[in-house]
Amino acid sequence: MSDFWAFEGAHMLAIVMIVILAAICLFVARNWGKQL
């Protein structure tokens, strides 16, 4: 991987983090209206 990443596997961790955040956000978007 390029010199941008801090350590071996950092790029994979970043990918996983963004995908998990996106999944949580989608779940929130689907359910927040029920609270109002």
Binding site: W5, A14, I18, L21, A22, C25, R30, N31, W32, G33
Partner: protein, 458 residues
């Protein structure tokens, strides 16, 4: 009576809280965007370029911005599919002359003006300057929202915005000094780019606010990206190839490799979700507050870059962090009574009853437009929220708790934007939206009628 008061307070607090939660999601994704957004520059073909000429850099920035937009659009379609709103997209898009055109205008300010300006600022001055320049956008957005929409900005909110901006500037200040000292004679192009970023994003939020009044935010942001992708793919990139003889096709084909596409898709995902959260917050807490909380992205960007790229902040980060967090708390702790309706009521307009005209319905309206029209037709008699729910369920064949919630969200959004007024309330015994929830009867406001007239809904 006490249960009623509790239900009312709960509803008010929840609607404002969700406005801030969405603005906060925007900040998280915007901060995360810096990871794939920077990684792509370290990936072939961009890592192999010398960028000795400004033309080469500008072309690279244009191609990356275009791919970023395509990635965002792909994930926004996924978002809409998950929320069962693809049909709403076509219904809204078909009202181009009266509604969608505002999103196309917003796309011009947000894409080729702000994002491209930001890349110019990165290239000619430096990334730190670009980030600071963009942090100033809430000032532009809040000022325009006040001017155009009569949006209420309390002294507390104004101080909050100012503190967040000062915090953002202090995060990046030492970096700017060193960047300016090292910069060369083309510095002014970078400064123009920085101004384009702050101006573009500020104006985009304010313009989008107009169309958001009468459309669903999830759908609105997707239309905005459809517009941006059209602008890049069919106007700017072909224009650059044709008139400047630039190797656009060669650069696009070189970009089509696994890692470059992966980073651009992830950048698109972060950017798209950041934007959709940004747009969702505007109707609930106002453009000024939504943009200011969104400006917390500076903090998240620095945190993510420290964790994943070991790019550690200097001492000034702690100062900036405490200032931006304090500014956010200043705004979030503002009484929900003040934020519940984000616009000042407008006087001197004709009453709903005198303007409304019975219009033959043509093609089916988008859902928010339909709700507004039902309320306009009910005039001063108004409609209960559960009556609106039944009408929507019947018209669009919807059912279930998810759609009940979506209709509540839409009504809260219209109420916060002062398009509708509450005329009566009652306590739900569990038959409609849930036990002990507040039921509200709404009527269209004079401002709502004005906005419907401007957007061709009446």
């Amino acid at each position: 009576m006490k249960a009623m008061k509790i239900a009312r307070a709960r509803h008010r607090i929840l609607s404002v809280r969700w406005g801030y939660i969405w603005a906060f999601w925007c900040a998280v994704f915007w901060g995360a965007w810096y990871l794939p957004g920077t990684a792509v520059w370290h990936t072939p073909p961009y890592s192999l370029m010398s960028f000795e000429s400004t033309d080469e850099f500008m072309l690279a920035a244009a191609v990356i911005t275009a791919f970023n937009g395509i990635g965002a659009l792909i994930f926004l379609f996924l978002w809409l599919a998950f929320l069962e709103k693809l049909g709403e997209l076509w219904r809204t898009l078909s009202r181009f002359r009266t509604i969608s055109k505002w999103y196309f205008l917003a796309a011009i300010f947000g894409g080729p003006c702000a994002l491209f300006g930001s890349y110019l600022a990165i290239g000619f001055v430096g990334p730190i300057f670009a980030a600071v320049a963009a942090l100033l956008y809430p000032i532009i957005g809040a000022s325009l929202a006040r001017l155009w929409y009569n949006e209420k900005i309390t002294l507390r909110a104004a101080i909050g915005i100012l503190v967040i901006v000062i915090g953002g500037v202090s995060i990046f200040a030492p970096g700017i000094m060193s960047e300016s000292a090292a910069a060369r004679e083309l510095l002014w192009i970078g400064f123009v780019g920085g101004a384009m970023a702050a101006f573009g994003w500020g104006v985009e939020g304010a313009i989008a606010g107009r169309a958001l009044d009468v459309t669903d935010p999830d759908v609105g942001i997707t239309i905005r990206f459809v517009a941006e992708v059209i602008i890049w793919l069919f106007l700017i990139l072909p224009g650059v190839a044709l008139f400047f003889d630039a190797p656009v096709i060669a650069m696009v084909s070189a970009t089509l490799n696994f890692w470059a596409i992966l980073w651009l898709l992830l950048a698109g995902l972060s950017f798209g979700f950041c934007y959709v959260a940004w747009y969702k917050s505007f109707p609930l807490i106002g453009v000024g507050r939504g943009q200011a909380i969104g400006a917390l992205y500076g903090v998240f960007a620095v945190i993510f870059l420290a964790i994943f790229a070991f790019q550690f902040p200097d001492w000034n980060f702690l100062l900036g962090l405490s200032l931006t967090v304090s500014g956010s708390f200043l705004m979030i702790s503002e009484s929900s009574d003040v934020v519940e309706v984000v616009r000042a009521p407008s006087a001197g307009m004709k009453s709903a009853l005198t303007i409304v005209q019975a219009e033959k319905r043509g093609s089916r309206l988008h859902m928010k437009g339909y709700i507004l029209r039902e309320l306009a037709e009910a005039a001063d008699n108004g409609l209960w929220d559960y009556e609106i729910m039944r009408a929507v369920f019947h018209e669009y064949g919807r059912k279930g708790d998810y759609w009940k919630g979506e209709i509540r969200v839409t009504l809260t959004d219209l109420f916060s934007g002062a398009l509708i007024e509450e005329i009566e309330d009652a306590l739900d015994d569990g038959r409609y939206f849930g036990e002990n929830k507040i039921l509200m009867k709404f009527k269209i406001s004079p401002f709502g009628m004005k906005r419907m007239s401007e957007t061709g809904l009446i």
